[in-house]
């Protein structure tokens, strides 16, 4: 520990602290622009100049390490003169267009100019003008406002992993820019808007929409990936206009992925329903709620009476709240059916689970891992901020290896990498398992020949102290997901490490907790569609896009006698197969809870009034339960539903109980497949109903229409070149798609994204494909 004095206040700080760290510890504010606790030190804005005893000149607090006995003065005449001088220089070229700047009201430069600047300028000469840059559909630029703090540059370099911005030219000509005619395409790009201390980088979708002080700031939780990012949702006139991160060191730190940040645009989508719809005589009619609910209750009662309770199935979105899931399960079981599932993209349900599958560790513990194997994950796009944590771990010396069906650039150094066709992945994982067992001197009954790359990964894994294996979305959606789970379990056992699942959706863990999965011998998401039911209750999901086999889902729903859809949005597909569509609130308009991938229960309140006659889903299900005369549907609040779902005790536990990744009774299947196999990613902005309707995200490069991607050898096999048309089918209707070269794919694989209208009719997310030249 070092002792120092700041403004006469004595304190002790850790070795290696800087003066600005020490000042923050003492609660003393030092003005700054370029300093940011999560970024490297640049010391280029000079705003944090302070006086240090015995130093002849003022020193930058952000870059001055504390020494023992140091005496710092942040408000001495010398310090104030220095700060005022710097502020005058910063304002020389600043346009001072605050009245038309989106940053006005939340601008560090504005605030500090009030605190440290003069009331008038001595500068008479011409100001410089910097040409704006096109950074893509999410970030708006006014580069003349830039003070060259380089926070955005350091963010792309250090956190996002790819330097997409730089400071080109020099001196008074220096400007922040991407490489000529490139945009900023990172899935974390929106964070540079928050980082920018001035109005140079602002949010394009929010541009000129409101002044910041007109906005109400309300807390919420992201409904997208399993991270459960904490949000500040900003609302004006009952419209969500902006989303910012709410700092939470356990989860999103001070960041947000672009999906969490910009998906709010979907809340204002023209697809939003405002009144219940019922199909009468083949035509859709807007009706009152009591009429709609009566219709639904009758329809369900009739089906149960006529065909038995087993003829009803519930398809629940894993992005729905815990309360909706729990009431949906309770409703189904009240009717006598156990057919409910929220694991919509999963296709292998074999094996016996000991509990709720989860991450297997805290999210914050990912940073401390020293050996990691990521199994089948489009990590950057599926879990942007978990990828970021792994990136930081790698920088600190962790070794990350990957086994996957596509060679994705994770923007971090990898210790080992196996890329193989989906059907060969169990074999490859078994090789790693066997190699680790051999290195650890354990007996292993897997009969596989260990390859060189598997041995290399195994050697990396056993060389650490704190290893973990993370199963990605593709591992959970894999046709032999249980085999991958069982092998991982075995591997983790040999390693003495942990393993877990990267939760696909905001409430993937919550689905198990709320029993939105079959509790007994009910039908799972896959069997509910292969063995079509007479009636379906579809909650929040768009099965044609959200299920493992969209074609099968559409067929089953089309043939059913009755399909009741509870959703904030209408879609052409639902209008075709449903007979009642009830407008339920998206996350911003309902209270509820999400259980994130580490099992953390996070409850939130509505930030906004429901649109039109939209109602919170839990209230709709409660009334339905009452209309169906089921017991135990008299909840006064969503909190009461949550408490019952979590096991009865009042009050919210921090974490859900019964988290356990162990699987038993799995028949391990290592046989290779044949033919052309599909590798299906769910692109980041097609993953759920809300983000699919966010227009700005849909304009990004991550949201381009999927192409049929193959490696050069496979393309040659079909005699096609990149850019030519291909006819592709996987059991459904053949689709004509553009062929594209993807050097990162194994032989005989076709990468075709799921979740998109152009590929939905093709067929299942995994399995054999037929390909021919169109």
């Amino acid at each position: 520990m070092l002792e120092l004095e700041i403004d006469g206040k004595a304190l002790q700080v850790k070795e290696g602290s800087t003066v600005i760290d020490a000042a923050h510890q003492a609660g003393i504010y030092i003005p700054h622009f370029c300093y940011h606790k999560k970024l490297s030190i640049a010391a280029n804005c000079r705003m944090c100049l302070v006086q240090v005893e015995k130093a002849p000149k003022p020193l930058p607090a952000c870059a001055t390490p504390v020494t023992n006995g140091m005496k710092v003065f942040t408000h001495s005449d010398l310090a104030i003169k220095a700060q005022k001088g710097v502020m005058e220089f910063l304002l020389i070229n600043h346009p001072l267009d605050c009245p038309i700047c989106d940053q006005g009201g939340e601008c560090q430069l504005q605030d500090l100019a009030v605190g440290y600047g003069s009331s008038s300028s001595r500068y008479q000469e011409e100001k410089r003008v910097v040409v704006n840059k096109n950074l893509g559909p999410l970030i708006s630029t006014d580069m003349t406002r830039c003070i060259n703090c380089t926070r955005c540059v350091r963010f792309t370099q250090e956190i996002a992993g790819e330097m997409e911005l730089g400071q080109a030219f020099r001196g008074d000509r220096a400007e922040i820019m991407p490489f000529i005619e490139k945009t900023v395409d990172s899935e974390l790009s929106g964070n540079i808007i928050d980082l920018c201390p001035v109005g140079a980088l602002t949010a394009k979708p929010f541009r000129f929409a409101a002044r910041t002080w007109e906005l109400a700031r309300r807390k919420s939780i992201s409904p997208h990936d399993g991270l459960g990012g904490n949000l500040v949702v900003q609302v004006k006139h009952d419209k969500v206009l902006r989303v910012l991160p709410l700092e939470n060191e356990h989860l999103n730190e001070c960041w947000l992925s672009d999906k969490d940040r910009f998906s709010y645009e979907g809340l204002n989508s023209p697809d939003r329903l405002t009144k219940p719809l019922i199909k009468q005589g083949g035509a859709w009619k807007e009706v009152e709620w009591n009429q709609a609910l009566d219709y639904v209750a009758h329809a369900m009662r009739d089906i149960v009476k006529e065909h038995g309770p087993d003829a009803v199935g519930a398809i629940v979105s894993p992005h729905g709240t815990l309360e909706e899931m729990y009431l949906a399960g309770k409703l189904m079981r009240g009717l006598g059916s156990d057919n409910i599932d929220c694991r919509l993209r999963q296709s292998d349900f074999s094996g016996r689970r000991a509990g709720t599958p989860w991450l297997g560790m805290k999210i914050a513990e990912i940073n401390k891992l020293d050996r990691v194997l990521v199994v089948c994950s489009f990590l950057r796009k599926d879990h942007p901020l978990i990828a970021q944590r792994l990136r930081q771990a790698v920088k600190r010396g962790a070794q990350v290896s990957v086994i996957h069906a596509a060679d994705e650039d994770l923007l971090m150094k990898l210790a080992g990498k196996i890329i193989a066709a989906p059907s060969q992945l169990p074999d490859r994982l078994a090789q790693i398992t066997k190699a680790v067992a051999e290195l650890k001197g354990a007996t292993c009954d897997l009969s596989v020949a260990v390859g060189a790359e598997a041995r290399k990964i195994a050697e990396s894994l056993v060389s650490g102290q704190n290893a973990a294996i993370l199963l990605g979305n593709l591992a959970q959606q894999h046709a032999r997901a249980s085999t991958l789970n069982a092998l991982t379990q075995q591997l983790a056992g040999y390693l003495g490490g942990r393993f877990g699942f990267l939760g696909e959706a905001a409430n993937s863990v919550g689905g198990y907790v709320a029993k939105a999965v079959p509790a007994g011998d009910g039908l799972d998401a896959s069997r509910m569609l292969t063995e079509p039911r007479k009636a379906y209750l579809v909650i929040g999901a768009e099965p044609e896009l959200d299920c493992a086999d969209g074609v099968r889902a559409t067929n089953a729903l089309t043939r059913a006698d009755s399909v009741i859809v509870l959703s904030p949005f209408k879609s052409a597909a639902a209008l075709a197969y449903a007979d009642a569509i009830l407008p339920v609130a998206p996350f911003a308009e309902t209270s509820g809870s999400f259980v994130n991938t580490e099992g953390r229960v996070q409850s939130f309140q509505a930030v906004n009034r429901p649109l039109g006659e939209t109602r919170p889903g839990w209230k709709v299900l409660r009334v339905l339960g009452n209309l169906l005369k089921l017991d135990g549907f008299d909840f006064a609040s969503s909190e009461a539903v949550r408490d019952e779902a979590l096991g009865g005790g009042a009050g919210k536990p921090e974490f859900a109980g019964d988290l356990d990744n162990i699987i038993a009774d799995v028949a391990i299947d290592l046989s290779p497949g044949g033919g052309i196999e599909r590798v299906a990613d769910v692109p980041i902005y097609f993953a759920d109903a809300l983000v699919r309707r966010a227009p700005s995200l849909q304009k990004t490069k991550d949201a381009v229409t999927p192409a049929a991607r193959m490696n050069a050898a496979t393309l040659a096999k079909f005699g096609v070149k990149a850019g030519e048309q291909l006819k592709v089918s996987g059991g459904g209707t053949p689709a004509t798609l553009v062929a594209a070269l993807d050097v990162g794919l194994p032989d005989d694989c076709l990468r075709l994204a799921a979740g998109h209208a152009t590929t939905a009719a093709v067929g299942a997310m995994s399995g054999a494909m037929t390909v021919e030249k169109a």
Binding site: Q157, M163, L165, F179, K182
Partner: protein
């Protein structure tokens, strides 16, 4: 970087590799200044494609190479004439006629700073201190040849030499 063919010749790449070898293997980008110089010598100037080629050869982001290329004024980001004349106009030179030398060149060639004569022969640039203030005014020819005491007579002589 994004699958574009590298536009540098085999020979240029070999020369760059010689520079890379001077640094630790995990710090290839240390050779960026030398690599940009080699690319410029070969191509005549540094196009975006050339900068991108250098960056991909050194496993570094293109923008990071561009930062370097745009920072130093001996790198040319636009095509230049056969002879690039860089006149120092920093204070010591200016006090000894550096600005006059630049003015004289401008008049003589009929172009302004950062311009190239229509016949593609001369490009005029303004330079920073070349470390020979005692010999002011100084000029650089094509980045490599330094000329001292550049009075109008000397400038005429220099222009006559440039064929």
């Amino acid at each position: 970087m994004n699958g574009q063919p590298n536009m540098l010749s085999q020979e240029a790449r070999a020369r760059i590799d010689r520079e890379v070898a001077k640094y630790p293997t995990d710090q290839k980008q240390s050779a960026v200044m030398a690599a940009l110089r080699i690319a410029q010598e070969e191509q005549g100037w540094l196009s975006n494609a050339a900068i991108e080629s250098v960056a991909s050869h050194l496993d570094m982001p293109a923008i990071a190479a561009f930062e370097v290329a745009s920072f130093y004024n001996m790198y040319d980001l636009r095509p230049i004439g056969k002879y690039k004349l860089t006149v120092c106009t920093n204070l010591p030179c200016a006090l000894s006629g550096g600005v006059h030398a630049a003015e004289y060149l401008k008049r003589k060639l009929g172009i302004d700073l950062n311009e190239t004569t229509p016949d593609g022969k001369f490009t005029l640039k303004e330079g920073e201190c070349m470390g020979a203030c005692g010999d002011a005014p100084v000029m650089l020819v094509n980045n490599v040849q330094m000329r001292c005491f550049m009075t109008p007579d000397e400038i005429d002589k220099l222009l006559a030499e440039c064929k």
